[in-house]
Symmetry: C2
Subunit: 246 residues, 2 copies
Amino acid sequence: MLVDTGSCGRIPHACHHGRSENGCADCKVRLISVCSVLELDELEELEALSHHLTLDKGQALFGQDEPAGFVFNVIEGALRLTRLLPDGRRHVMGFALPGDFLGLALQERHSVSAEALGPVKTCRFARQDFAAVVETKPHLLRSLHERAGHELNLAQEQMLLLGRRTAEEKVATFLLSLRARYARAGHSSVTVELPMGRQDMADHLGLTIETVSRMLSRLDRAHAILLVPGGVRLLDLPRLEAMAAG
Amino acid sequence: MLVDTGSCGRIPHACHHGRSENGCADCKVRLISVCSVLELDELEELEALSHHLTLDKGQALFGQDEPAGFVFNVIEGALRLTRLLPDGRRHVMGFALPGDFLGLALQERHSVSAEALGPVKTCRFARQDFAAVVETKPHLLRSLHERAGHELNLAQEQMLLLGRRTAEEKVATFLLSLRARYARAGHSSVTVELPMGRQDMADHLGLTIETVSRMLSRLDRAHAILLVPGGVRLLDLPRLEAMAAG
DNA sequence: TGCCGCCCTTGCGCTGGATCAATGCACGGC
DNA sequence: GCCGTGCATTGATCCAGCGCAAGGGCGGCA
C-alpha cells in the first residue's frame, strides 16, 4: 500500500510510514517535479523529510492566509487553488496537477486555498525543513525560481485572458491549455478530462456557470468539441486554436 | 551629470561612463531594489557590470518575446509592461516604478514589452553577467525569488480584480494600490501621480478608456477623489477602501 | 496669437454576458 | 423503485460596460 489509511491522525493525515516502497527513486512524478534536478543522494535526504498525504474529494489541503506550515508536491489527482474576496466572491487562480509544487515561493502564508477536486496524493514537507534543504542546494532554489518564472508567465497569460477575451475565447483557450498541461505530463490525448465542475471553470475564467455551460454547448453544437461525461473531446483543434488565438 | 546624453550610441543607449559619481553605494534605489541584500564589496562587483541607461517618453526598453539580452533596475521614472494578443488587443500587465527589477525570472526571452511613460533612468546588466553573479551568491537568488513570489501575489490580486470586480471597484483598487506602491518607495501622499494615460489604465484593468474616464469622473463628482492635472487626490480614503474591498 | 494635434470627457444607443427561473439528469440512500 | 440532492443545461430578461461620435481642454509651435 502506498499510503496510510487513517490509523494515525485526523483527516487530512500523514504518517511516517507512508512512503513508496522504493522511495522517491520510483516516484511517479519525479521527472516532472522540482525533484527532477536532484541527484539520488539528495533525493534520499529529501525523502527523509517527506510524508505522503492523501485527500478525498472536497477536502482542503490548506487555506488562504493560513501560516504555511507545509509545502507539497502533487503526485496524483487535481486541486483547485482559490482566492476569496471579503464579500464572498471567489476566483479560481488555477488547478494543480501531478508534478506541480504548492508553496513555490516558500512564503510564510499561503496566498490561496487548495482543495481536492477528487482523490489526491501529495508528498508533504515541513516548510522550514524544505527551506533548510534549499539553503544548502542552490540548484534546487534555481529550479524553484524557474518554476516561479513559469507561473508568472501563466499568470500573465491568464490576466490577458481575463481582461481582453470574450467568453468563447476564454473557454476554448482553457480547454486547449488544459490539454497542453496533460500532454506535458505525458497524458496526451484529444479527450481532455475535466476534474473540476462548471462553477470552478467559471470562477477561473471570470464568467458565470451559465455562460460556461452555454459556450460549451455552443462549441458542441458547432462540432468543435464533444461533451462527454467527466470531460471533453476536442474534435476540431484548428478551429479551437483559431478561437484561442483571437 | 548622472548619465550620458547620446554621444555613444543609438537611442536607447548606454555608456560605460554613465554611473553615479559614487557608484551603487549612493544609488537612489539601493535600499528598495534587489541590491539591498548585497554587501559593499558585492555591490562593487555588480557595479563593474552595470551601465546606466536613460529613455525618453515612449521609448521601448525591450519588446515582448525578444531575447532577453539585458536585465534592469529601474532608478527613476515609470514604465508600462504590456502583452499583445496576435490580433492587436493589448493588456498592460503592470507598471514598473523605481526599485523594480525587470527580468526577475532571468528567462531567455522577455514575456512583456517595456515602454517608458516619461523620462526613465535604469541600471542595466547583461543577463548572462547578472546570472553568473547570481550563481555565486545564493542570497541574491533568494532575494530574486522572494520578489518573484511577491510578483506572483500581485498577479493573483490582479486576476481576482480582472475576473470578479466591477468597473468602479477596479478603478478604486488601482488608485489605492498605486498609492501604496508610492508609499513603500517613500513617496507617501494622498495625491497620487498618474504617469500613465487613460488608455493604459483601461488596458491594465480590462476596461475601455471611456469607462475609466467615466468612473474617475463619477468618483470625482462623489468627492471620493479630486482629479488634478497629471494625477489624482484621494479625498475619501475610507470610501475608496470600502469600494476596493468589495 | 491662433492653429493643430492629442488626449480626455460626455452622451447615447447597443450588446455580451449576468441574472433569474425552470427543467433535466445522474447518483446515492433507503 | 422512488425520492432527494447537487450539478448542468436552457430560456427569458436585464443591465454594466462597450462602441461610436461629438465636443472640450491644453500644450507645442509658427
